[in-house]
């Protein structure tokens, strides 16, 4: 095995076990790993952001592609630094206001068209046919039930989120069904997630037993 690879593996094992030791309790080994992680990752992100945004997009964009619109972004970014001077720190609210305005506008339209319009559209389906225009009652009993559950579940789920009416009487009962549907969703999400979490641990164990200790062929 190459020396570099060997160092990498031993270092990896040292850091992996340090993090896992947190399960037993806080300890200096974990603190060391945490300190290394925080410092190096903050540096990593700054470097990535610097080369990608400031250099590739901003500097190259302005000097080589002549996209002078980007200068506005540069000015906004620079205004952000006014925070360092307490007298004129309030100017840094301008770029912030810009960011929030842009995000509000961007999200409003995108969420609206993709989450509201598309999902409502997808919920509108014939209950008895297997597709629009197919012969009547061609769908199986099961598929009819499914469609009723999907349309009804979406409907009652929305009732649950209603803010301007107390959950009482028939409305309350519908909201109750709604929260049950949402609870099934959460249960399904959880059951599904367990698998994903396990595979990450398996990956690490594979590294410890295989790459480091060489117990797995």
């Amino acid at each position: 095995m190459e020396m570099a690879e060997l160092i990498g593996i031993w270092l990896g094992a040292f850091l992996t076990l340090g993090i896992i030791s947190f399960l037993y309790g806080d300890n200096p080994w974990y603190k060391l790993c945490e300190a290394i992680f925080v410092g190096s990752s903050a540096g990593y992100w700054f470097i990535t952001l610097f080369w990608d945004n400031i250099y590739s997009k901003f500097y190259v964009g302005v000097t080589q592609d002549g996209n002078y619109m980007l200068l506005i972004g540069g000015v906004l970014g620079f205004l952000m630094l006014m925070r360092l001077f307490s007298k004129i720190g309030w100017i840094s609210r301008w770029p912030l206001a810009f960011v929030v305005g842009a995000i509000a506008g961007f999200y409003l339209i995108n969420y609206f068209s993709s989450n509201v319009m598309f999902q409502v559209n997808a919920t509108i389906m014939p209950l008895f046919g297997s597709g629009y225009g197919d012969p009547i009652f061609s769908a199986s009993f099961g598929s009819v039930i499914n469609k009723i559950i999907i349309a009804g579940g979406t409907f009652t789920g929305l009732v649950y989120f209603f803010f301007s009416k107390e959950h009482k009487g028939a409305f309350g009962a519908t909201a109750k069904v709604g929260i049950w549907v949402i609870m099934i969703t959460f249960g399904a999400s959880f059951g599904y997630t367990v698998m994903s979490r396990m595979s990450l641990l398996i990956g690490r164990m594979d590294f410890i037993f295989g790459d480091w200790l060489g117990l797995i062929k």
Partner: protein
């Protein structure tokens, strides 16, 4: 030898669970460290003793497989690496399987990433899969890695109209205009299939909202199991198929092995990882049962 170890460890797990049940039922606190220890053992044992199960592709996985299989050869497939090293053990088997399958079908593969960390993972896929297993495929002709650009969904907003506004070169600094694979490709709309491999933000959802929907481009997803339920609503209208977690990977690998003799010996991390998964799942289910039993008995005792 392996069998003895296996039997011993399974016996240890079952014995431990029994002990845990008795202790919980008698109303005594069980320290979380003991729970942690169980999971550690349940995951390690099948790894050390190599237990596997066979898989059959579900329709949602078959959707992706058939699309890749049925595209005429020479089609352009874009694979986006939208994950970091922490998610890699789970989703890397899928991105590798896509690359193998696409290249075996003589499709052209464009690799990119919406995650900063995706760039080097894409590069290592080129090194470890393409260069080793497909030595006669040429960089810039059959495949290319154009890497990562910052901007999350903003990147998609740009490349859906023009790749070159975001990407002047590939990761090696080669001008996109000079590579053969990019002749005639201007934007995402020129892709025959896009596959986003990931499970966080930005990821498959952003690909749906900002690329596949507005551009009406076929999109498939491969996600960490955690984000899969969240993506089901997009199938089959906005996503042609979806691989969820290691199980999805194992199904895809089984399907490839079944239909392509040349993949008989390919690495199948997905199938192999299902062994420990299964055991860990059973232990988690045992925990839920034991937890609820003790809760139930504690309530009765109170009454």
């Amino acid at each position: 030898m392996t069998n003895i170890g296996l039997i011993l460890s399974i016996a240890a797990i079952i014995g431990g669970l029994l002990w845990l049940t008795i202790r919980s039922l008698s109303g005594r606190e069980v320290e979380r460290r003991i729970i942690f220890l169980f999971i550690g053992i349940a995951v390690s044992v099948p790894l050390l003793f190599d237990i596997t199960f066979s898989e059959k592709a579900t329709p949602i996985v078959k959707g992706v497989y058939d699309k890749v299989d049925n595209l005429p050869s020479g089609s352009v497939i874009l694979i986006s690496f939208d994950y970091g090293p922490s998610m890699a053990p789970e989703v890397e088997p899928m991105s590798n399987a896509f690359i193998r399958h696409s290249l075996a079908k003589d499709h052209k593969v464009i690799i990119m990433g919406l995650w900063a960390t995706g760039q080097s993972l894409g590069a290592s896929a080129v090194e470890n899969v393409i260069k080793k297993e497909f030595p006669n495929k040429i960089d810039g002709v059959d495949y290319i890695n154009i890497g990562y650009k910052a901007g999350n969904q903003g990147v998609l907003n740009v490349i859906i109209t023009d790749f070159r506004k975001m990407y002047a070169t590939d990761v090696n600094g080669v001008d996109l205009d000079s590579v053969q694979i990019f002749q005639g490709i201007r934007s995402l709309k020129d892709m025959d299939l896009m596959i986003s491999v990931g499970g966080g933000f930005p990821g498959i959802k952003e690909w749906v909202l900002f690329a596949a929907d507005p551009g009406n481009i076929p999109l498939a997803g491969a996600s960490a199991a955690v984000s899969t339920p969240l993506l089901y609503p997009y199938y089959p209208m906005q996503l042609i198929g979806l691989l969820g977690g290691i199980k999805g990977a194992a199904e895809y690998e089984s399907e490839m092995k079944k239909n392509y003799p040349q993949f008989a010996d390919m690495p199948t991390p997905g199938i192999e990882m299902m062994g420990p998964q299964t055991l860990a799942h059973m232990v988690v289910m045992a925990f839920i049962v034991i937890g609820n039993l003790s809760f139930f008995f504690a309530k009765r005792r109170k009454e």
